[in-house]
C-alpha cells in the first residue's frame, strides 16, 4: 500500500492552497488527488475576472488565480495525480482511488484534507413540474459548455435562481449573443453578490424578479417555453401572476451543495445546515486527522476566503502529522449560531490548539439593515459590530482573540447572533 503523510482530495483552489501551506510547514510527503485532467478545479471554467481582490489586491480571472497556486505547488515539488477519482476514504484514513494507469490503488494517509468542493443543486431537487426536455442546464454545466467546450447551449434563456454562477452566466450568455429574458429568484433577496447583480444583470438590462419561481416547463424535445409566477411568503405560486416566456433554455442557479459523499462514507459527522463536516478550530472533522476546507466545508462566495481557510487546514494537518496525532488537551468551547446567524465554522474551539486570532465564518438567514453582529461569551456580550447590510448571499465573519478566550472565566459557550440594537 502506498503511504503519504498528507493526502489531499481535490486539486482545486482549496486543495492547492492546503498542499502549499502543509509543505511550507515542513511536511514532505504530500499527494494531491484530482479527478480532472488538470489542477485548478472549477476556477478553470470561471474565465471572468474579479478573483483575488483580497489576496493579491488585483483582479484576476479564475484560471489566473488558480495558476498562482498551481505554480506554487509545482515550485514546491508537491506530488499530484490527475484523472484520478477517489472512490472511498476509510475511517482509519486509507484512501482508495482509481485512474487509467494505476488502476484501483489504496493509500495510507497520515492525515487527509477534504477539498472536494461543491456541486450544483439540480432541477430534480426543486421538483419543478413540466416536461423534461433538452435545454435545462445547471448554470455551471452551461458555463463548462461555453467556456471549456466552446459551444453555445442556447439562444433564448430564462434563468431560475440568482446564485453567483447564474448571474455570471446571464452576462456570459449575453456576450455570446444569446438573449437572457429574465432571472427569477424564489426568495425575496438574491443569493448572489451585490456586485454580480450590478455587473451582470443591471449593466445589461436583464430583469431580476425576486419572489418568483418557475411553475411550468414546456417542450417535448427541447425547451420551448417556461412559465414563472410570483410566490407568496410560503413560497407557493400566487394564482394570476403567471408569465410565460418563450425560450429554448432554462439555466438553474438554485444553490450549491458541498460534495460530501466521501466524507459521509468515511463516517465524518455532518452539519445539517452547511451540508459540510462539523469541524473544530483546527478545521479537523469528527475523525482525528481528517481536515476539511473550502466549499466542501461550507459554500463560500469568494475564492480568497477558500484559500485562506485551506492554508490553515494545511498547516493544521502538518501539525497533526508532526505531533503523530497526539491529543492536545483543553476544554472544548461550543460555538452557537442563533437569532439570524445560521451556522458557524468552526463549531468548537479548544483554546490550547487555537492560533492567537481565529476567524469564525458564518452566514445570516435573511436580509438585515443597520443591524449588529454580536458575540457573547456565555451570557456576556463581548462584541457588538454595526453592519449596514447583512445578506444571506454574503459570508460574514468575526475574529476571536485567544487571549480574551483564555482569560474569560469558565467559558463554555460562544454565541454569534444578529441584533437589531
Amino acid at each position: 500500500m502506498l503511504a503519504y503523510d498528507i493526502v489531499i482530495i481535490g486539486g482545486g483552489p482549496a486543495g492547492l492552497a492546503a498542499a502549499a501551506s502543509a509543505k511550507k510547514a515542513d511536511t514532505d510527503s504530500i499527494l494531491i488527488l484530482e479527478r480532472d485532467h488538470e489542477l485548478g478545479g472549477i476556477l478553470n471554467q470561471c474565465i471572468h475576472n474579479g478573483f483575488g481582490l483580497h489576496t493579491f489586491k488585483e483582479e484576476l480571472t479564475g484560471p489566473e488565480y488558480a495558476y498562482r497556486f498551481e505554480k506554487e505547488v509545482y515550485d514546491l515539488g508537491i506530488e499530484y495525480k490527475l484523472n484520478t477519482m477517489v472512490m472511498d476514504i476509510s475511517p482509519d484514513r486509507v484512501v482508495t482511488a482509481m485512474n487509467r494507469t494505476d488502476g484501483m490503488i489504496q493509500i495510507k494517509a497520515g492525515a487527509v484534507i477534504l477539498a472536494m468542493g461543491c456541486r450544483e443543486r439540480p432541477r430534480g431537487a426543486l421538483n419543478t413540474p413540466g416536461y423534461r426536455p433538452a435545454g435545462i442546464f445547471s448554470a455551471g454545466t452551461a458555463q463548462r459548455l461555453v467556456n471549456i467546450e466552446g459551444y453555445l447551449p442556447g439562444r433564448e434563456v430564462v434563468i431560475l435562481g440568482s446564485g453567483d454562477i447564474g448571474l455570471i452566466m446571464a452576462r456570459r450568455m449575453t456576450l455570446e449573443g444569446a438573449k437572457v429574458k429574465v432571472v427569477a429568484e424564489v426568495m425575496p433577496y438574491s443569493g448572489g453578490l451585490k456586485r454580480n447583480i450590478v455587473q451582470c444583470l443591471d449593466d445589461y438590462g436583464i430583469p431580476l424578479k425576486l419572489s418568483h419561481t418557475v411553475i411550468d416547463i414546456e417542450g417535448k424535445e427541447r425547451v420551448t417555453a417556461v412559465t414563472i409566477a410570483e410566490v407568496g411568503p410560503d413560497r407557493k405560486p400566487v394564482p394570476g401572476t403567471e408569465e410565460r416566456y418563450t425560450c429554448d433554455t432554462l439555466l438553474l442557479s438554485v444553490g450549491l451543495i458541498p460534495e460530501n459523499e466521501l466524507s459521509r462514507s468515511a463516517g465524518v459527522e455532518m452539519s445539517p445546515i452547511t451540508n459540510g463536516p462539523v469541524v473544530n478550530e483546527s478545521l479537523e472533522t469528527s475523525i482525528p486527522g481528517v481536515f476539511a476546507c473550502g466549499n466542501v466545508l461550507h459554500v463560500h462566495d469568494l475564492v480568497d476566503y477558500v484559500s485562506e481557510e485551506a492554508k490553515r487546514a494545511g498547516e493544521n494537518a502538518a501539525k497533526y502529522v508532526q505531533s503523530k496525532g497526539e491529543e492536545i488537551s483543553g476544554d472544548v468551547i461550543k460555538l452557537v449560531a442563533t437569532d439570524g446567524a445560521r451556522y458557524t465554522v468552526p463549531s468548537t474551539i479548544n483554546v490550547n490548539r487555537m492560533d492567537d486570532l481565529l476567524t469564525v465564518r458564518f452566514r445570516v438567514g435573511a436580509v438585515y439593515q443597520d443591524a449588529y453582529v454580536s458575540v457573547y461569551f456565555n451570557d456576556e456580550r463581548v462584541m457588538h459590530n454595526k453592519k449596514r447590510v447583512l445578506a444571506p448571499g454574503e459570508m460574514e465573519n468575526v475574529i476571536l482573540q485567544k487571549a480574551k478566550i483564555a482569560s474569560f472565566p469558565d467559558l463554555k459557550t460562544i454565541t454569534v447572533k444578529i441584533e437589531k440594537e
Binding site: R100, G124, N127, R132, K220
Partner: protein, 484 residues
C-alpha cells in the same frame, strides 16, 4: 424485401415479441419512431414485477401476469437483467376495509399466485417497520419483485438483434394497408416496408394502427402517472414494495425500493388525451407525497427527491390486454392495452404473440438460436483485484465519467458499441445509469457528449438528449468561431 413479420414499437411488448420470434426462421423487423428502444411507456413506470393478485380471475391480464412473473427469473438470468424478488405488501389502514385484503388474497389464489399471506398489524410492522402507525393488516406477496425496466427492454431487444431481428429507429408508421396478395404495406417517414404479418405493439398509439385496419374500433386513453425518485440515501426506507388498497384507477401510489437502491414513489392516475404529454404537474406531485405518506411514515419526499417524471399507461376502456389476430384484418396481430401489469407480463406477451404467428405460419425453429446476453460489466460489483485486471485490459474502466453512480468510460464505450448501441445521452443513461444519480447529469453530460462525439463521429451540435430536436448545444461559441 418483404419481411415475414414487422413489429411496430420497440417497447417491452415489441422487444419481447421480437425475441420470441427470433427463435424461428423468420425475417423480423421492428419499427420504432423514437431513436432508441424503451422510449415510451416502458421507460417510465413503477418498475415492479407484480405478483398477480390484482387482475380479475380468468382474465388474460391475470394469466399473463402470473406467467410473466414466473418467467422473470430465467429471463433475468439469461439476459443479465437486474431483478430482485423483494416481495410486496398491500397495506390496509382502515379496520373496516380488512375484508378487501381477503378479497385480494382469494383472487390471487384463484389466479395461481403462490405464497400469499394475510399479515396482522404486528406481522406487517415486523416485516416493514416504516409502515404507517395506522396499519391494520397487509397482504404479503413474496413473489412480487423489482426490475430495471430499461435493461429488461434493452436486453430483450439486443438479444433479438443478435439473433437476426432488424431494428429501424426514427421510423414512424404513417399508414397500413393490405394488398390483394395478403401482403401488408407499411408506409413510414423512412419509406415503405412490406410484411406478411404485422404486430401492433405501439403502446399508447396502438389504437391508431388498430383503427386503421379494423372496423371494430378501440380507444386507448393515455393515463398519466407522475413519479418521484428519491436519493439512494432513502433506498432502505422500505425493503418491500408497499401498495395501498387498489381503486378503480389502479393499484394506487406505491412506495418501493428500486433495483438500483433508490426509492420510488408513484404513480398518480390522470386520464389525458395527448399521447405524448409526459409533463408532471404540481398537483400531481403534491398528491403523491400526501398519498404515499398514508401508508409509509417519515417520507422526506420533498427534500430527498432527485427527479420527478411522468409516464403514460396505455389504458384500454375494458382494462384488459388485447392480444390476438384481428378477425377483419388477417395477419394483423394486436398487442394493445398493455398497461400495468404489462412490464411483468412482457415475457408471456412475447410468447403469446409468437405462438399466434407460429400457429398460422408454422415456421421452422433455428438451431443456432442463442438466448443468452452478457450485460455491461458493473465494475462496482468486482473485487479490487478483478477490477484492476479489467483496467489493465481496458484502461477506460479506470476513468470515472459519472461521479454519482461511479460509471466508468469503459461501461459507456460498451453501451455505445454493443448491438443496438446508445446514440444519445438518454441512451447511455438507460444502459449504464450515467446521469441517473443525484446530480442528474450536471457533471457527466459534457463528458458523455465528448465520448459520443469521438466514438460515433456525431458532431457535438447534433448530439441529442433523446433524438429528434433534443439537441444539447446549438452551435460553436462566438469565441471559438472567431478563432476558426
Amino acid at each position: 424485401m418483404t419481411y415475414d413479420v414487422i413489429i411496430i414499437g420497440a417497447g417491452v411488448s415489441g422487444a419481447a415479441s421480437a425475441r420470441e420470434l427470433s427463435k424461428y426462421k423468420l425475417n423480423v423487423c421492428v419499427l420504432e419512431k423514437a431513436e432508441d428502444v424503451c422510449s415510451g411507456t416502458s421507460k417510465a413506470n413503477s418498475a415492479i414485477i407484480h405478483a398477480g393478485f390484482d387482475a380479475p380471475e380468468g382474465s388474460l391480464m391475470a394469466k399473463l401476469n402470473v406467467e410473466g412473473n414466473q418467467m422473470m427469473d430465467r429471463l433475468a438470468e439469461d439476459l443479465d437483467i437486474p431483478f430482485k424478488r423483494n416481495g410486496s405488501l398491500v397495506v390496509c389502514i382502515h379496520k373496516e376495509e380488512l375484508g378487501v385484503l381477503k378479497d385480494l388474497y382469494d383472487r390471487g389464489v384463484a389466479n395461481g399466485v403462490e405464497g400469499l399471506k394475510i399479515l396482522s398489524r404486528e406481522e406487517a410492522l415486523a416485516l416493514e417497520p416504516n409502515l404507517s402507525d395506522n396499519v391494520e393488516g397487509a397482504l404479503y406477496a413474496p413473489t412480487g419483485g423489482i426490475v430495471c425496466p430499461f435493461i429488461l427492454n434493452i436486453a430483450m431487444a439486443e438479444n433479438a438483434n443478435t439473433n437476426g431481428v432488424d431494428f429501424r429507429f426514427n421510423t414512424e408508421v404513417e399508414h397500413l394497408s393490405r394488398d390483394d396478395d395478403g401482403i401488408w404495406h407499411i408506409r413510414t417517414n423512412n419509406g415503405e416496408y412490406t410484411a406478411k404479418y404485422v404486430v401492433n405493439a405501439a403502446g399508447v398509439h396502438a389504437d391508431i394502427f388498430h383503427n386503421m385496419v379494423s372496423s371494430n374500433k378501440i380507444h386507448i386513453t393515455p393515463r398519466r402517472g407522475d413519479y418521484c425518485l428519491l436519493d439512494k440515501e432513502m433506498g432502505g426506507h422500505v425493503s418491500h414494495t408497499i401498495f395501498p388498497q387498489p381503486t378503480k384507477y389502479g393499484k394506487g401510489v406505491l412506495v418501493s425500493p428500486t433495483v438500483h437502491g433508490n426509492l420510488i414513489v408513484g404513480p398518480t392516475a390522470i386520464d389525458i388525451e395527448d399521447k405524448e404529454a409526459t409533463a408532471t404537474t404540481q398537483e400531481g406531485i403534491d398528491s403523491l407525497i400526501e398519498k404515499a405518506s398514508m401508508n409509509v411514515k417519515d417520507l422526506p419526499v420533498g427534500r430527498k427527491v432527485i427527479t420527478s417524471f411522468a409516464g403514460l399507461r396505455a389504458h384500454e376502456e375494458h382494462h384488459e390486454f388485447i392480444i390476438k389476430e384481428l378477425p377483419d384484418a388477417p395477419h394483423f396481430i394486436d398487442c394493445a392495452g398493455i398497461e400495468s401489469p404489462g412490464l411483468t407480463s412482457c415475457p408471456a406477451i412475447g410468447k403469446m404473440v409468437a405462438d399466434i404467428i407460429c400457429d398460422l405460419e408454422k415456421p421452422e425453429k433455428k438451431t443456432d438460436w442463442n438466448g443468452k446476453r452478457k450485460g455491461i460489466i458493473d465494475p462496482n460489483a468486482l473485487t479490487l483485484e478483478e477490477r484492476n485486471e479489467l483496467i489493465k485490459k481496458n484502461p477506460a474502466y479506470g476513468n470515472i465519467v459519472c461521479r454519482c453512480e461511479s460509471i466508468s468510460e469503459g461501461e459507456i464505450l460498451d453501451a455505445i458499441h454493443r448491438p443496438l448501441g446508445a446514440r444519445s445521452l438518454d441512451g447511455v443513461k438507460r444502459r449504464t445509469r450515467a446521469g441517473m444519480g443525484r446530480c442528474q447529469a450536471g457533471f457527466c453530460s459534457p463528458r458523455v457528449m465528448e465520448i459520443i462525439n469521438r466514438e460515433l463521429g456525431i458532431p457535438m451540435e447534433k448530439i441529442t438528449k433523446s433524438g429528434g430536436r433534443s439537441n444539447i448545444v446549438l452551435e460553436r461559441s462566438k469565441a471559438v468561431k472567431g478563432d476558426e
